[in-house]
Symmetry: C2
Subunit: 122 residues, 2 copies
């Protein structure tokens, strides 16, 4: 319990990785506040994000480190990194260089759920 | 691949649950845009959230359905639900009735990571 309290209140980074060695990351647009995408980070992706200020993730499908925008150029420049209470999630406040979604849309969350259906909002 | 495209572009809800039967959910404050919390939903939590417009999650620690704020009263009223491209994440835009974090803070993301340390911002 002491460890839990220190993890919640302390100034020390003690990320709580899941069984796959990952934490969840959410990126929001620094200007609009929109949620752009959800992804995952391993320790190395977190370290690279913090040191380069460019978002890096762990691609679960490719099982590889993933510098977001490496091929498209649509990187996410990180203004601010926040850690949640139990240190298993990271919030990145970013300036996107282009569309964040692989579909070409600014955000991956381009559909609203309403009355059992998905309605495109972008 | 056709299924993937339909899942990304279609109007039909086809949530892609992980091996534990969960999708990731992120809640942001409708007024400020702040990320309040990250959690998980099973199919029932999603259904209840959509029908009641009050956020429900699946508590992985308690292994139980979790109506956020059921004991504290700090429910999250859902204004809008968004689904991401591959339908494994849900974005809830909410009006919180009180602090979203169990520590009593408005958001679970009350610490900034900077230069290797965590700095409280709330």
């Amino acid at each position: 319990m002491q460890d839990d309290r220190e993890r919640e209140e302390g100034a020390e980074l003690a990320l709580k990785f899941n069984a796959d060695g990952l934490v969840t990351a959410v990126a929001t647009h620094a200007g609009t506040g929109d949620v752009l995408m959800l992804a995952h980070m391993d320790a190395e992706a977190f370290r690279l994000t913090a040191t380069t200020q460019i978002a890096h993730f762990w691609s679960r499908s490719r099982r590889a480190l993933w510098k977001k925008g490496e091929t498209s150029g649509n990187v996410l420049r990180v203004r601010d990194m926040r850690i949640d209470c139990d240190q298993d999630a990271v919030w990145l406040i970013v300036d996107p260089a282009g569309p964040a979604c692989h579909t070409g849309r600014s955000s991956c969350f381009y559909r609203r759920y309403d009355k059992g259906r998905l309605e495109h909002v972008e």
